[in-house]
């Protein structure tokens, strides 16, 4: 008969999980690739720290100035800044929190309470949370230096605000992950996005026509914002300084109500996961097939110009793209943001009366932004292959065909998005001069193809498995991030210098000529690199397979 063990306390379970994570990290450092990954992480961490520390000074100075100058209402603005960053940054950039391996933990006699606490603690380990906590601490320090008596109240408000934010972030991440896990909701999401993009185009004429009434409606709504958590945090603090205990208690109590409400919602979500919630597409038992298992491929082959192997890889990449919710989101964001930028900052836009950025600079700037976002996944292009990577090595295919297939798919997406964005920019901002248009197009070819060569090398040198369709804990290898960062800066720097050279020398066609030359060199270099990279993939296949089949 099995011994019945005494129950283990939550703190002990958390300590065990933390120790497990630490041991996994320590053991992983025995491998060279993982050590390089850590070095890359440290480097990127240093860059990120500079940003966080710089803004921490700003939050410190802001809190100090607002309190010492008596502008207490303005403290809400600082809380709003942190709140928006904490909640929106993961959606736009990084994904949600560190990977909470609940399925692994569920094997153990873990209580739901411990499961919840561990899940929440994991939420504090991502960049947006760490940065926000640093800023909250900086605010606390600034407020305390300005008025030392405020420290206890500030600590209480910051603690509630912090817990509330991490709870909301985990909740939103969990909902989005659930939403994007199913094909139907993913399609609905895409539809809503397209609809919102189209709607945004009507925003400007609507603003012109109904601007005044909309503004007054917004101003009427503004007072209700004070009932939202960031404003409540600011108001609670202001009430303490004004020695209004009732105001403080009311605001703090409302903050607590928010915390309880979101905690209850998150508890529900985690409870579903604890019970073994299945997010997979077809978890339900299948009914008997109503149609043949294989759809007929009788139509004309749209990829007949490609070799069968390259065409097969392009098709596979397309299937993978359409089934990966997070990748979907990444693709939809850039054109949407370009549209928003073009409506707000562009020179010819009627609402800014020609005082914005000119089309000459806006065009290359927006294209650079688009490439920056869309090229990032190429630096770890085997991330979602999983065990399938073995097929590339057992099939009679040279690795250059694998690269070609993957790169062709990415270039097709880029082409589509760049065409869409160029169309939007032309419509919203107007066309730049002919020499700038040619220079921008040639620069796109140069930077994309040039980066692809480096990205292919990075993909086989610093591979890292990522979980399909998950938004949590999706992190590239630290070295891959560094390589991407370095090559984007290099390409961007070269392009910027060349663009400005045209102005300095007074020869407007010089950048276009230079970029056409560089584009030709990049394309030649790309094809020349394929065989060498194919050879490299062969020598590094063990590392690649090991990293992706884990």
């Amino acid at each position: 008969m099995a011994d019945v063990m005494p129950s283990v306390s939550i703190s002990e379970q958390i300590r065990l999980v933390a120790a497990l994570r630490w041991r996994i990290l320590r053991n992983s450092l025995r491998k060279k690739n993982n050590r390089l990954d850590l070095i890359g992480l440290i480097f990127t961490g240093v860059f990120a720290s500079v940003l966080v520390v710089g803004l921490s000074f700003a939050f410190y100075a802001g809190a100090y100035a607002f309190i010492s100058q008596g502008r207490l209402e303005w403290m809400s603005l600082l809380f709003w800044g942190i709140f928006l960053f904490w909640q929106l940054f993961p959606v736009f950039v990084a994904g949600f929190g560190a990977n909470f391996e609940f399925r692994t933990l569920l094997r153990f006699p873990l209580s739901l309470r411990a499961f919840y606490v561990i899940g929440l603690a994991y939420g504090l380990a991502d960049f947006s949370s760490l940065a926000s906590v640093s800023w909250l601490l900086a605010m606390t320090a600034g407020a305390t230096v300005a008025k030392p008596g405020v420290l206890p109240a500030m600590l209480l408000i910051v603690a509630i605000f912090l817990l509330l934010n991490v709870t909301i972030e985990r909740l939103v991440g969990s909902w989005l992950e659930r939403l994007l896990a199913r094909r139907r909701t993913r399609e609905l999401f895409l539809g809503l996005f397209v609809l919102s993009m189209i709607s945004l185009n009507f925003l400007s004429p609507l603003m012109q026509r109904y601007g005044a009434s909309l503004r007054s409606a917004f101003l009427r709504l503004l007072p209700y914002f004070v009932w939202l958590p960031p404003s409540l945090a600011g108001r609670a603090l202001a009430a303490v300084i004004r020695l209004e205990p009732a105001g403080f208690l009311l605001s703090a109590a409302l903050l607590l109500v928010y915390l309880v409400l979101f905690t209850a919602l998150l508890w529900r979500r985690f409870a579903a996961q604890y019970r073994g919630e299945e997010l997979s597409e077809t978890a339900a038992p299948a009914r008997a097939a109503a149609r043949p298992a294989t759809a007929k491929d009788d139509g004309p082959d749209r990829l007949s110009l490609l070799s069968p192997q390259v065409a097969a890889i392009v098709r596979k990449e397309f299937h993978y793209l359409t089934r990966n919710g997070f990748a979907y989101l990444t693709l939809l964001m850039p054109p949407l943001l370009i549209l928003i930028f073009s409506m707000n900052f562009a020179g010819r836009h009627p609402t800014v009366g020609g005082k914005g950025v000119s089309a000459e600079m806006f065009f290359p700037g927006m294209m650079a932004y688009l490439i920056l976002i869309l090229m990032a996944p190429a630096y770890n292009s085997f991330a979602y292959e999983g065990r399938g990577i073995q097929t590339y090595f057992t099939a009679p295919v040279r690795f250059r065909d694998v690269f070609l297939g993957k790169n062709l798919m990415l270039i097709s997406i880029l082409w589509l998005e760049i065409t869409l964005s160029l169309g939007m920019l032309t419509w919203r901002v107007g066309l730049p001069s002919a020499h700038m248009l040619v220079a921008t197009c040639a620069a796109i070819i140069f930077t994309v193809v040039g980066q692809l060569t480096i990205a292919n090398w990075s993909s086989i040198t610093f591979p890292r498995r990522m979980e399909f369709g998950q938004m949590r804990g999706q992190r590239q290898s630290g070295m891959a991030v560094l390589v991407a960062f370095g090559s984007q800066i290099l390409m961007g720097g070269i392009s910027a210098v060349i663009l400005f050279t045209g102005n300095w020398t007074g020869n407007p066609w010089l950048p276009a000529e230079a970029f056409v030359f560089l584009a030709a060199v990049a394309v030649g270099g790309y094809f020349a690199s394929l065989d060498a990279l194919s050879q490299l993939a062969e020598t590094r296949k063990e590392i690649l397979i090991e990293a992706l089949c884990r």
Partner: protein, 262 residues
Amino acid sequence: MPEMAIQTQKLTRTFGALTAVDSVDLQVTPGQFFGFLGPNGAGKSTTIKILTGLLAPTSGSMQLLGVDFAAKPVEVKRQIGVVPEGMGLFERLTGSEYLKFVGRMYGLDRATTQRRSEELLDFMQLADRPKTMIADYSHGMQKKLALAAAVIHGPRILFLDEPFEGVDALAAGALKALLARMTERGTTIFLTSHVLEIVERLCSHVGIIHKGRLVAQGSIEELRAGISGEAGTKTTLEQIFLSIVGQDGTERPQLEELSWLM
């Protein structure tokens, strides 16, 4: 001398100080159903990975169907099919999409790929879940799909790493019949399995690897004769296996040490 299906000379693979495969000289003739046996960690999977191009040998050479693997890897891979450890499936494709992908990777034309995919899915009883992604298949279904993908191009050598693990008895029976038919038609099958009864029933020849070294190789009859000293005895493969790998003096774990479990 007839052309060998698989031939290796002093095939060796080391991982740091550990020699996982140590100077292995394998000889498998065409049409043989070859069972590759060994205790856990003996080097079976490492050997099969080397033979299928998933791992490079540290030293030694190998020829498949008379072609040097290192010199012409793509030519060799055209002739072989593989169900690797972990199956190597793209889990976010449907079964049909995956078979079409593999067929095209092996250079089959669209019509042939389509026809063979349908036939294989029917045979493997996977045709009734057309929209189901591989990630949502059961382990046994994934195994059957991996096997279907390995044979879609009609390979001359088939490498199978634990092909019956997790496959139900009904499907296993059909698979065994399929494999037997393939060997009758000249396909060489190289199989690893922990289930010695399966190997004994299916395989004509056996190789036993222990601590990286190939300690026995031949037909089951030859191995029986080697153990008992005479041919035609009723020694089982399990007895042969235990007598060969149990001769190195390794102590078996003592149950008394786990008294708290009993």
